[in-house]
């Protein structure tokens, strides 16, 4: 089924304890698109880049089945650029540079060909921009997944709340869930957030896994795979989201049970992304490498528990 992805396509410059990169391909839309391409080939991308965006990067998007009719190229513009440095624990980072460039005036336009998409992934962007996508769609998708971050809670609360009220699944991290709800306990936070509109909430806890909640108080936990080395965490959350919605678009089953599977697939792909810089590992997978990783998750998780007698 067709999947519409709205998210940044960017240059990233990354430093981790293992080394540093030049400007490389990055952006939420890029990671979401690449990850979901392993599940569905009806991928429609809406984003914006500048004239400085190299052809070989556009080729990576095309190689991953992304329709780029909705990828605006701003004449004379420069592509969004982010530079960051991770600390030793890889859980925290300093942003060294943020150049919004063409992203500053991004006005998403949904091509006619993209109408009737059945799945929509809204990557982290200004909530008013995310809303512009929703209002342009003549038929509401079957499933709308929204990613956002604390930044918008700080500077655009009302706009964010409006956007959140329009979606089916919200993905945020644990600190953001606490900020959004005003509750420290993630169980209480989830309950409160699930009154704001979304039917499902995914709380991403990085190296500590992810939690899925629904409105019926079901809860599922997916661990992160313990890795020898986290080389570069950039894009892990977006890869997770892409794997999650890609799996749902492929399987066309929106039950809680299937969302659990989708979360495991998202986690598996995210665990691959962090093993190399940028898209260096996630862009070069095949079914076998994904299945091998899924197998590792299965053994990490599988336990046959009997009740006491």
């Amino acid at each position: 089924m067709s999947l519409l992805i709205v998210g940044t396509v960017a240059f990233d410059k990354i430093e981790t304890p293992f080394g540093k990169t030049n400007k490389i391909l990055g952006g939420a839309g890029t990671y979401i698109g690449i990850a979901s391409s392993y599940f569905t080939d009806q991928l429609n991308l809406v984003s914006v880049i500048g004239e400085d965006f190299p052809k070989e990067y556009t080729k990576i998007l095309h190689d991953h089945k992304m329709n780029t009719q909705g990828l605006q190229v701003v004449e004379g513009g420069k592509t969004f650029f982010w530079e960051g440095k991770y600390h030793t624990d890889m859980n925290s980072r300093d942003t060294l540079t943020t150049e919004l460039n063409v992203l500053a005036d991004f006005n998403p336009v949904i091509p006619q060909e993209y109408q009737n998409c059945e799945f929509l992934m809204l990557g982290n962007l200004d909530p008013s921009v995310q809303r512009k996508v929703l209002t342009q769609l003549k038929i509401r998708p079957k499933l709308v997944v929204l990613d956002t971050m604390n930044f918008w809670m700080d500077i655009a609360w009302d706009s964010l709340m409006e956007t959140i009220s329009m979606v089916d699944v919200l993905t945020i991290n644990d600190e953001e869930a606490r900020q959004l709800s005003g509750e420290y306990s993630l169980v209480k936070a989830a309950r409160k957030i699930l009154t704001m509109g979304p039917k499902y909430l995914i709380i991403k806890k990085g190296e500590h896994g992810a939690l899925l909640f629904d409105q019926k108080e079901n809860c599922f936990f997916a661990p992160a795979l313990p890795l020898e080395e986290v080389f570069d965490p950039t894009g892990a959350g977006d890869t997770f989201a892409g794997g999650f919605i890609g799996f749902l678009a492929k399987t066309k089953d929106l039950s809680f049970e299937n969302m659990k599977r989708a979360i495991i697939y998202g986690s598996a792909l995210a665990s691959i992304t962090v093993e190399k810089f940028g898209t260096d590992s996630i862009a070069y997978l095949n079914q076998e490498s994904i299945n091998n990783r899924i197998q590792e998750f299965k053994s990490l998780l599988q336990v046959d528990i009997q009740l006491m007698d």
Copy 2:
């Protein structure tokens, strides 16, 4: 099968964001004993208390099937006392008071009746004291589980290494695993620690669950149950250890598969301990309440993952 427990029996005074206690029953040996009592009734306790230890607390130990022949009562002595205050996040705490009292000169003596125990749980104590227990046992138990902490890594490294080399299972938290191994990655840390003697390593991550590693590079992850409220984390780690070894003593199966089950049982009991102050919840369970909690873990974990085709 008989289980020997060596660990502190203490007074705790606890403050959390939810309230504070007077001096209440605490100590690693107490929590380990209570938790394991739900699995086996052949419990032998070795510890030390002062004359100030009230009869009603001794009764709680007896009510939980603990043989207290090895519980030394020091004439005129005062029981070990710890006072602490938890921060809002419940993951960190300040120790306000530590009065070692009779624990300062604790010299564990294993009664004849305790010889031939098949399972041994060494709660966190000076590693030289833990070793004195091991050397007094005429027959080595089938399984020896050791708990320790960063404090001993800081002040008694060589002694700790000697004790660690003598046990089968080591339980420590993630920061301690990093300190003990000098490796940041928990996978690398586990691999290194498993060359120091233990055949199994359990890395406790508090609200983020626990990892089990063996020497064959098997890895299992057990989540912590997301709770509405963590009321008081005191004793959670010791309850976990008690549930773990109690389950193994009951089932008499030391396979990796069964250790996975034991970790789920330990996690389930720990999730109950933190719901009230001190031993207020863990001391009053029955089979049904434990099974209900295990059922919650099952639904939190259960997912039927298919590989991609």
